[in-house]
């Protein structure tokens, strides 16, 4: 691709259509034109598969997180009823599109959309999100777009098979427990091995027997020699704390059947697939919004669309990137579309029309090639580092960002910093921290298993800023207990200080010790 954008040979085209009704021919034509412009902007995408669906089908897609296939579970039914109810009562409109990180990249378009909306969605999903999926480092290293659909099919079949053999309710219970822990079923630092449905099926049986063997080895009760037992006493298990709780349970829980371990694995793999999306919401939506805005404006500049079309587009665009202020009744946190769109737009502005402030804050960016800068920013960051790196004073001023400090022990909130010179850096790092998954989710790890004793599992919660766990914690621990099969402890620490402890099942007093004593010889 050439570095500079070639001026189009024929600067003004006739509008592709002036009607607001879409047709398949027009969709294809828009896709072709938008695709060509996208390539001028060096957007590198997977092939697109655009699927036109009805609003009912959109509701179906909603309730399965957009996945075209999925195993059956009541929670998806709940999601569906909720969506349906809200939609029918007019509380919410449906999203105009859903896009799936797969190869080819599947985008759903609703039949109710007008032509302008369809074009917007094509620009947003098929070129914005699609290029993000293909080029962001998190997606590149952590997900496998070619295999996901096959894997979902495998998962669906496997769950159905288990339901036939062991009963829907039994399977549901295991899945409930896995879902409760799915945020703790991801490897945060290690790249997971790629998934492939064919191999999954082939290896699954082999794995079953092998896994059981491993577990047996860990839990063997054959008498051990004295030296060994000395070793055992000093040996901790696991030797290092484990952050992937589901993985740990899958590999080490003493009582699980092989099929139950496989179910854990399925939930884990799917959670892993969604993990990058949870870490790049601002970037992903911002990137897609930036590109639909840029692509549609280019369409207009070259005469492919008329003014009416642009008016409709701009009013939708404005609604998407609207950020209600903190004191509005519509306020529910920072709108990731707005934040991301503003940062990417400002990056382009800094390249094209740098100010003195920009040269001071972003010497590497100001006045440089904007396409190089944007692609680099999209490819190499996640929300947290992206904000830390690129949130400019201008965006902070435009959005009037301010940072509030809330200490449980103080009767007042304190305004720590606002969008002014002394405050920029503080606001920026506070906001970046807000998008750090490890501060957004409590840090809970497996620290110990009482191998020779009561087989209990101990988890450790390391508090961030002394923020305690929520009230559902006990319920989640019950799920951990269901999977682990023996007592589960959770200790919550602020620094080195033990703040609170949970235990499931809750022992009332010491009289249970006798039963523990017996367990030792099981």
């Amino acid at each position: 691709m050439s570095k500079t954008i070639q001026p189009p040979k024929d600067p003004r085209h006739e509008p592709i259509t002036t009607s607001s009704e879409w047709t398949f021919a027009h969709i294809q034509e828009f896709d072709r034109v938008i695709g060509n412009i996208a390539r001028e902007y060096r957007l590198d995408t997977y092939p697109n598969q655009i699927e036109i669906i009805s609003s009912e089908q959109m509701m179906d897609a909603y309730s399965s997180v957009g996945m075209p296939v999925g195993y059956h579970h009541w929670s998806f039914g709940k999601q569906f009823l909720q969506t349906q109810g809200n939609y029918e009562r007019g509380f919410m409109g449906l999203a105009y599109e859903i896009v799936i990180n797969s190869n080819p990249c599947i985008a759903y378009l609703m039949e109710e959309n007008t032509m302008a909306m369809q074009a917007l969605v094509i620009a947003h999903a098929c070129y914005g999100h699609n290029s993000f999926f293909k080029n962001n480092y998190l997606f590149k290293t952590w997900t496998d777009a070619t295999a996901i659909i096959d894997y979902l099919v495998f998962a669906k079949d496997y769950v159905a098979k288990c339901e036939n053999r062991y009963g829907v309710e039994t399977v549901e219970k295991i899945l409930d427990s896995c879902h409760a822990l799915q945020n703790y079923g991801v490897d945060r630092y290690k790249r997971p091995s790629p998934i492939s449905a064919a191999e999954e099926r082939a290896r699954q049986e082999e794995r079953e027997s092998y896994m059981q063997q491993q577990v047996n080895l860990l839990w063997r009760t054959i008498p051990i020699t004295k030296e060994e037992s000395e070793q055992q006493k000093t040996r901790r298990f696991p030797q290092e704390p484990q952050e992937n709780i589901l993985y740990f349970i899958e590999k080490n829980a003493p009582l699980l059947e092989p099929w139950q371990r496989e179910l854990i694995r399925i939930v884990r793999k799917i959670a892993q697939y969604f993990y990058p999306q949870r870490q790049t919401q601002v970037m992903n939506e911002g990137w897609a919004s930036f590109w639909h805005y840029t692509l549609m404006n280019t369409l207009y500049d070259r005469g492919y669309v008329n003014e009416g079309f642009m008016f409709e587009f701009l009013s939708s665009h404005a609604a998407v990137v609207y950020q209600p202020p903190y004191d509005s009744k519509y306020y529910s946190g920072i709108n990731p579309y707005t934040l991301g769109f503003n940062i990417f737009s400002d990056l382009r502005r800094m390249c094209e029309k740098p100010t003195g402030e920009d040269y001071e804050w972003f010497p590497d960016i100001a006045g440089k090639d904007w396409l190089d800068t944007l692609h680099f920013a999209m490819e190499n960051f996640k929300d947290e580092s992206f904000i830390q790196q690129y949130l400019s004073p201008k965006v902070m001023r435009d959005m009037k960002l301010f940072c509030v400090y809330d200490d449980e022990e103080s009767p007042e909130y304190e305004i720590k910093a606002i969008h002014d010179d002394p405050g920029y850096r503080q606001v920026r790092s506070a906001l970046a921290d807000q998008y750090n998954l490890s501060t957004r989710e409590p840090n809970i790890q497996v620290v110990n298993v009482d191998l020779r004793g009561d087989r209990s599992l101990t988890l450790k919660h390391t508090r961030h800023n002394n923020i305690p766990l929520n009230k559902e914690c006990n319920e989640v621990l019950k799920h951990v207990h269901r999977l682990w099969g023996f007592d589960v402890h959770l200790h919550s620490y602020d620094g080195d200080e033990l703040m609170s402890s949970y235990q499931i099942p809750e022992h009332l007093n010491a009289e249970d010790d006798s039963s523990l004593e017996n367990l030792r010889y099981v």
Binding site: E56, D406, E441, E472
Partner: protein, 427 residues
């Protein structure tokens, strides 16, 4: 360079979530049943033709996950600053949950307080209702299907099942096809036959032997060609087509008789209501037009509307015959037995003024039972039977086909009574 495919999926099934939805309903059966029961109590028995909106407390269907609770220290970034400068201090609103209490939290807990509300369809509504009444599946199905159909001949079609083949039509088609397809060959055959005849008619010495042999060979070829035409082929087949026509049915009237004396509690009335409801639905299935007459009685009887029938409170003694007399009068006046199918259901706790029971027996045997299709009596009581029950037992022995009686202690006992009624109609 095209690397985009546009696919129209609108024709694909749209009920992909049906299984998950069903799982959800199954899981929260208890909640839904409670809601259905409440709905039955607040609805008219003639109003069972729509679904219901169900609410479940959001806490009950929560899927727990680890998350941050309230408290600790945190920095929150918000947009839209108007008057704040660094170092400002703002008193926290009482209750803790204020504007600055965390971006994610505010929205989550805001929604959390609401009930989870969704709709179930009429079918599901009835299903949950019937489940409490312990109706067998067959009966449930029969009750839910509103109309009866009769199959009427409606011409022919070229697709169908073997059992519906119309032989005459199919053979006619086959014949026509054979004529049409073999026309050319047969015409030629005729010509060839004529030529052979002409040739053979000639004197032996004049015959052209080669020509004759050729002609004979051609004749044989044509005959096998005609013979090869299949006698009957797939596309000859015609099937009888039948259309469903709704059965025209007559009118029925349903009398609901209930004791509303002081001894009948609201719970007893609710059970009675379910019984009347079932009877109503059963009748609706069989008759095009149904009228319902509500008669309540203590010492005297009164015709009332449904609301008053089930919910107004009365006290006093009980004379059952007053209600029977009133029914008898109403039948005489408004529902001549030759034009109406008459059904009656009576609910009581079994109390009656002792001298009145023989009178009831007499009215039933002499006046009412000869005119009605069916009379059912339910006694809703856990106690021993009294005179009324014994009098009715006599009635049952003399009219076993038109009279049913049963004691009911709770909801699940309703069905056995109903079954008798049903069996009689099915056979």
């Amino acid at each position: 360079m095209m690397n985009t495919y546009v696919i129209d999926r609108r024709l694909n099934g749209k009920n992909k979530s049906a299984v998950n939805r069903k799982r959800f309903l199954e899981r929260y059966k208890k909640h839904i049943k409670r809601a259905v029961n409440e709905a039955v109590n607040s609805r008219s028995i003639t109003d069972m033709e729509h679904g219901e909106s169900i609410s479940i407390p959001a806490d009950d269907i929560r899927e727990p996950i680890f998350g941050h609770g309230q408290g600790g220290r945190r920095n929150i970034v918000n947009p839209g600053n108007k008057e704040f400068v660094s170092g400002d201090r703002i008193a926290k609103p009482p209750g803790g949950q204020g504007s600055g209490s965390g971006s994610g939290q505010a929205s989550n807990s805001g929604e959390g307080l609401d009930d989870f509300t969704f709709n179930i369809t009429q079918d599901e509504f009835l299903e949950f209702l019937f489940e409490d009444l312990e109706l067998p599946n067959l009966v449930r199905k029969e009750l839910k299907s509103m109309d009866d159909f009769v199959y009427r001949h409606a011409g022919f079609t070229n697709t169908g099942v073997p059992a519906k083949i119309n032989v005459v039509r199919s053979l006619k088609n086959a014949h026509a096809r054979r004529i049409a397809l073999s026309g050319k060959s047969r015409r030629r055959l005729k010509e060839v036959s004529k030529l052979i005849e002409a040739e053979e008619a000639k004197d032996k010495t004049l015959r052209n032997k080669n020509l004759l042999l050729d002609l004979i060979a051609e004749k044989e070829k044509l005959e096998t060609k005609i013979g090869r035409l299949p006698f009957i082929d797939d596309f000859d087949l015609r099937y009888n087509l039948s259309a469903k026509d709704p059965v025209p049915s007559n009118a029925a009237v349903m009398f609901c008789l209930m004791d509303v004396s002081g001894s009948m509690t609201q719970a007893t009335k609710d059970i009675a209501k379910r019984f009347f409801l079932l009877l109503y639905m059963f009748l609706r299935r069989n008759y095009e037009k149904i009228e319902v007459v509500f008669i309540r009685h203590h010492t005297s009887a009164k015709e009332v509307d449904e609301e008053e029938f089930f919910y107004s409170r009365e006290t006093g003694g009980t004379i059952v015959s007053s209600a029977l007399r009133m029914m008898q009068d109403i039948v005489k006046e408004r529902y001549p037995a030759n034009a109406w199918n008459i059904y009656a259901a009576q609910a009581s706790d079994g109390d009656n003024w002792n001298d009145d029971s023989p009178i009831c027996q007499r009215i039933l045997e002499k006046e009412i039972l000869p005119k009605v299709q069916y009379f059912s009596y339910i006694e809703i009581t856990p106690r021993d039977h009294q005179a009324l029950w014994h009098a009715y037992e006599n009635v049952r022995s003399s009219f076993p086909n038109h009279f049913a009686m049963e004691q009911i202690v709770d909801q699940s006992d309703i069905f056995p009574v109903f079954r008798q009624l049903f069996q009689r109609k099915v056979t």
